[in-house]
């Protein structure tokens, strides 16, 4: 049992001084909502999600494979001032991560300067030796950077992790907004909320801006999906549709000579930019996993000879590894000569003897993560875990210390959320999506994930998390 006083969480709607300004109207809104209306609206929202087909697929667990992510109607709000700071911090970080990638696949200055250990980079599973020496168009490796943020106080934000490969969830950001506008138009009349619906346009121009030099015409962009069994398939169709580009599978593409083509009813059409939503290991069976049926044989050789651009670039994963995460503030200082605007969560690397000692002594207080894990799996939340779970993790860490990092359990902020009895505070995080091509762009908003179980700190949809519409108040 934890005998300490329970931690005090920052609630984004009501702090010690009463209702915070950006939530004032929402407070009225939920108080004056007639009883009964709420349930009707909640059902309406669910029916809309199902009808539009916004589901994520979970196969192999029995039951309906098409699940809805629970949608909470209570919006999460940022003031313009709060957002401006976040925006600067996110762009700074996305830029540094891309400079890091350009560097480590080139001369590796940051390693030579002793700012990041060589082993962590070059022996990293995500380091792609095949692209060493290759510079992608506009020197961008990660075109969509998803930065997971948590908040602990009015002015205190932390970066929880970076996603440089293919961060998902942006379709929820857009659809949550669509559905809220449809159900509660009044809220949008009374509040000045910055729109997010230009994201697909911005994404398309970002992708078009990194077309290969060899491309001498309007670039043809496609979205490459592993197929409709993928849990994020809805998002793939959504983005392709909103951008007005083809959604292709590996079987629709083929390589001939120096270029990639797609099979169409009018014969082959050349493809210039591939926004791929599948992992490096699967994109080209000739270069990576030979057993993959999802990719395109020969794609990598076309890529390396400048015939096509792959977004995100193969090898980008080395920047979002949890072991590398610790060094991102260092990257910002090294490449940009600036101090990081957004802080990292203090992180203990179990591979280091001192850190490990501290971690093993303080497991009940810490959050432990697998270095290569994702989706909230393979994670220990010390204060919420039983003795036996903690002991199981102790054994794992002792067995493979380099495979784990640990962080203090953060007092994640809460946001009012509809529950059976009215509203109650629930913990939230935030994932904004930063676009990098010729320029760097960020739509005002992101995906707010909420841990719907009382007291839970795990917001992942695979672990009972839900989503909220995220508002940035216009100036």
């Amino acid at each position: 049992m934890n005998t300490k006083t329970p931690p005090v969480y920052f609630d984004e709607m009501s702090d010690t001084g009463g209702i915070r300004a950006p939530y004032k109207r929402l407070d009225d809104w939920h108080r004056t909502m007639p009883s009964g209306i709420r349930n009707i609206k909640q059902h309406e929202a669910e029916a809309l999600f199902r009808r539009i087909g916004i589901t994520f697929a979970v196969y192999g667990e029995g039951g309906d494979p098409e699940r809805l992510i629970p949608f909470d109607m209570f919006p999460r709000v940022f003031t313009f001032g709060e957002w401006r700071k976040l925006e600067r911090g996110i762009k700074q970080r996305a830029q540094a991560l891309n400079m890091f990638l350009s560097d480590v696949y080139d001369r590796g200055e940051i390693v030579k300067a002793g700012r990041i250990p060589a082993d962590l980079v070059y022996r990293n599973e995500a380091f792609e030796i095949a692209v060493h020496g290759f510079r992608p168009p506009k020197s961008v490796f990660s075109h969509i950077v998803g930065i997971d943020l948590v908040r602990t106080g009015p002015d205190q934000f932390y970066v929880l992790e970076d996603n440089c490969r293919t961060p998902s969830g942006v379709s929820y950001m857009l659809e949550n907004r669509e559905i809220m506008m449809r159900m509660f138009p009044d809220l949008f009349v009374k509040n000045r909320i910055a729109p997010v619906d230009h994201y697909p346009n911005a994404l398309k121009s970002t992708l078009a801006s990194v077309a290969p030099q060899k491309c001498d015409h309007e670039p043809r962009v496609v979205v490459l999906t592993p197929g409709h069994f993928n849990s994020a398939y809805y998002e793939h169709t959504f983005l392709a549709d909103m951008m007005g580009v083809e959604l292709v599978e590996g079987q629709d593409l083929f390589v001939e000579g120096d270029f990639v083509y797609m099979k169409t009813t009018e014969g082959p059409k050349k493809v210039d930019v591939i926004y791929r939503r599948l992992d490096d290991a699967f994109i080209d069976p000739l270069c990576f996993r030979p057993d993959s049926m999802l990719g395109v044989p020969g794609l990598m050789s076309v890529y390396l000879s400048g015939g096509v651009t792959i977004c995100s670039a193969p090898g980008a994963g080395v920047a979002d590894d949890k072991a590398i995460y610790v060094y991102v503030p260092e990257m910002i200082r090294f490449y940009l000569g600036e101090e990081p605007i957004l802080e990292n969560v203090p992180t203990f690397q179990c591979g280091k003897a001192d850190d490990r000692k501290y971690v093993l002594e303080n497991l009940p207080e810490l959050v432990v993560k697998e270095v290569h894990g994702s989706g909230g799996y393979g994670m220990l939340v010390g204060p919420k875990s039983s003795k036996s779970q903690i002991e199981a993790f102790r054994a794992k860490i002792e067995d493979n210390p380099g495979g784990y990092i640990a962080q203090p359990t953060l007092a994640l902020s809460t946001c009012p959320t509809f529950v059976e009895e009215g509203i109650a505070p629930r913990h939230v995080d935030l994932r904004p999506y930063c676009l990098m091509g010729e320029k760097i762009e960020l739509v005002p908003g992101g995906l707010t994930r909420v841990a719907l179980t009382e007291g839970s700190l795990v917001v992942n949809s695979s672990q009972g998390g839900g989503v909220k519409d995220t508002w940035v108040m216009a100036e």
């Binding site: 199902r50 087909g53 392709a240 083809e246 599978e249 629709d252 797609m262 169409t264 009813t265 009018e266």
Partner: protein
């Protein structure tokens, strides 16, 4: 348009048509079961329906008798029957899901809503669902999906592939039904011209929602020659072999013009239309209705294969 996308749209059209045919057959079977016995009582009527769909064998393997409840389950709900309405609507939705980007929100909405309804219905107590509800629901859903295609879908190549799928499948269904009349409904030549024969022709017309149209068009006189003419050659009747083939030809021509090139598929459909346009009922009866229909079905399949290899990436779905 991606070949794979075109393929999914084409199959969406085929399954949609197949679902509707299944509902029509259920309607006929259900109606006939209400009438006094003609040959061996209502059981035989259901058997004829199953024969018409080419699923009697599969049915017999699974169910002990052709009671209405069994047939209903088999034709509507049974996922193991690839021609059941549930299977067809499921296939429509699966094809649609894969190519969401190629259809309007309205069309997807119609398809997806039908699919969600279907799930709801399979959870509903069966005594709450009368057969006429099931049939009405299917006809309504098919009409809604078709309507969404007509009012909102861009007239681009995707629209043509949808329609080619529907027209090829519809031609096949009409030929199949007509053929079954010859084989199952009319086991012996000695019935030709008898009261029973007429009754069975009416059944066939009803299966194609064409009884009234026929009476209007041919002054009510039922004769094998007139009915064959109606179902094969009449350009006013939307399910006749000629109308269906002309529709396929029309959409294939649109594609050829849009793409600036003609393929084997246009060639094949032109041959089919050419023969039908000049055909005479007398010639067909001379050749033998069955032989003629078999030849048509083979040619139609051939056409489907040509469409597949010219546009849909070659591989069969």
């Amino acid at each position: 348009m991606l070949s794979r996308t075109a393929g999914h749209l084409y199959w969406l059209g085929r399954y949609l048509e197949r679902a509707e045919t299944a509902a029509r057959l259920m309607e006929v079977g259900g109606r006939n079961a209400l009438l006094p016995n003609t040959t061996g009582g209502h059981r035989n009527e259901w058997e004829a329906v199953l024969q018409a769909m080419g699923t009697f064998e599969a049915f017999s393997e699974k169910y002990s008798d052709t009671g209405q409840r069994n047939v209903e389950t088999f034709l509507f709900f049974d996922q193991s029957n690839p021609s059941s309405i549930a299977s067809c609507i499921g296939a429509v939705r699966e094809n649609a899901r894969v190519v969401r980007t190629a259809m309007t929100v309205r069309l997807w909405d119609a398809i997806n809503t039908a699919f969600q309804d279907l799930k709801e219905m399979s959870r509903t107590e069966r005594s709450q669902l009368s057969m006429s509800d099931l049939i009405d629901w299917t006809m309504k859903v098919c009409a809604e999906i078709r309507g969404s295609i007509e009012i909102a879908q861009l007239r681009n190549d995707g629209y043509h592939f949808l329609n080619i799928g529907m027209a090829i499948e519809r031609a096949d269904n009409t030929a199949r039904l007509l053929n079954v009349k010859y084989y199952v409904l009319l086991p012996s030549m000695r019935y030709v011209g008898s009261g029973l024969d007429n009754y069975q022709w009416v059944t066939l017309l009803r299966a194609m929602s064409a009884h009234r149209s026929f009476i209007w068009t041919y002054d009510g006189e039922l004769s094998p020659a007139k009915i064959a003419h109606f179902l094969i050659f009449n350009q006013l009747f939307p399910r006749s072999l000629l109308t269906c083939s002309m529709k396929t030809a029309d959409h294939l021509d649109h594609l050829a013009r849009g793409y600036g090139k003609s393929t084997e598929a246009q060639q094949k459909v032109r041959e089919i239309v050419g023969e039908l346009a000049e055909g005479q009922v007398e010639d067909i009866f001379e050749e033998g209705l069955h032989e003629f229909l078999m030849r048509f079905m083979v040619a139609n399949e051939d056409l489907a294969r040509a469409v597949q290899s010219a546009y849909l990436g070659g591989a069969e779905a």
